[in-house]
């Protein structure tokens, strides 16, 4: 199995550029006019979940944060696609 250094060698630059891209995306949202929607709030909530995942892994915490947690099938769907964050 690879060591922590091996993992850093393999993935640090990739993760670094993605992290900066996220920061730039949030700056972009702040800078532009108009109202934001549930996706923005969902994204920020998922970032909190990543930083404070509790006992579980971070990726799972982020995915669960971006999931619909209702239990029963819905009567009807208004859309065929998914947004990536639950509408609240």
């Amino acid at each position: 199995m690879p060591s922590k250094t091996d993992i850093l060698d393999l993935y640090f630059m990739d993760a670094r550029y993605k992290l900066i891209d996220i920061a730039a995306f949030l700056d972009r949202l702040d800078r532009h006019e108009g109202d934001s929607d549930f996706r923005h709030a969902g994204f920020l909530k998922a970032m909190e979940a990543m930083l404070n995942p509790g006992d579980g892994p971070r990726a799972k915490a982020v995915l669960e944060s971006l999931s619909d947690h209702s239990k029963e099938p819905v009567e009807k769907a208004e859309i065929q696609f998914a947004y990536g964050a639950p509408q609240v």
Partner: protein
């Protein structure tokens, strides 16, 4: 390197893609029936699609030395109209005796509606009636967690043998739901959604390499028909052995698919 591509939508791909995956070592590929990017306007549209999957596409793949198999169903995205869904479903048995049909799939849910759920249950009943394995599509993005739970419950309620069901498109939050209930799990490698190669390998390292496969699910959207071999190379970078890589990209799909009466590998690879 030899591998099996267990989930690809080649009707949406070019012959260059067949050439590329053949050169990369693909021995066999499986094409589940799915949404074409638009809702088909008639039952006859599905008949043509099933003919394409069972007649034309195997012949196209054979030109590149690849065995082409298929799974049949009406996908959940077009199954919300129950009357239409049932009309299409009633036609599927006409094609089930074709020599390259593996089972029923990719069935499941899209927006987790009651109507989708009804048609899912009717597909499960058809699979049980014909003693066929099942390939499951789990919903996208925010709908995946709920949909995976509903699908697993539907399978359990119908007393389906989990050995003969693969629940596809699992991610970190749904892999355990499938595997802990005894089902097989599939990971889809997409550039923008589902799993990256790095995350798929994380899932293998976390949940083990039993009852799991990975696929490209390449289709008409942003996807990569070489995703499985690229992930295999990433596994090599992560210091996984050649034996383990071979198990994940060849032996595991072979083990699951060998439960399908029509599945056979090229001579010498059985």
């Amino acid at each position: 390197m030899q591998y099996i591509e267990p989930h690809a939508h080649m009707v949406s791909r070019t012959t260059d893609d067949y050439q590329a995956i053949a050169q990369a070592g693909c021995q066999a590929l499986c094409e589940p029936a799915f949404w074409a990017g638009y809702d088909r306007g008639s039952v006859e549209g599905f008949r043509d699609y099933y003919r394409q999957l069972t007649d034309y596409e195997p012949a196209r793949a054979a030109k590149f030395g690849i065995l082409h198999y298929t799974w049949l169903c009406i996908n959940p995205k077009e199954a919300d109209d129950v009357v239409f869904g049932r009309e299409v479903l009633s036609m599927i048995p006409e094609f089930l005796d074709q020599p390259t049909v593996l089972g029923i799939g990719e069935i499941g849910l899209n927006k987790n509606t009651k109507n989708e759920h009804l048609i899912l249950e009717e597909h499960i009943a058809l699979a049980q009636e014909r003693d066929l394995p099942i390939l499951v599509h789990t919903p996208h993005l925010e709908d995946k967690l709920k949909g995976t739970r509903l699908i697993v419950d539907a399978m359990k309620n119908a007393n389906v043998n989990p050995d003969r069901v693969i629940i596809d498109h699992v991610e970190e939050h749904t892999a355990a739901i499938a595997l802990d209930a005894g089902f097989w799990a599939g990971m889809t490698l997409y550039p923008e959604s589902k799993c990256t190669p790095g995350r798929a390998i994380d899932i293998l390292e976390t949940f083990g390499t039993e009852r799991i496969w990975m696929n490209s699910a390449c289709d008409w959207g942003i996807s990569d028909p070489l995703a499985v071999v690229k992930c295999a190379l990433e596994m090599k970078k992560r210091k996984h052995t050649a034996e383990l890589i071979h198990k994940v990209i060849y032996e595991n799909p072979k083990e699951f698919l060998s439960q399908c009466a029509n599945f056979k590998l090229p001579q010498g690879n059985e």
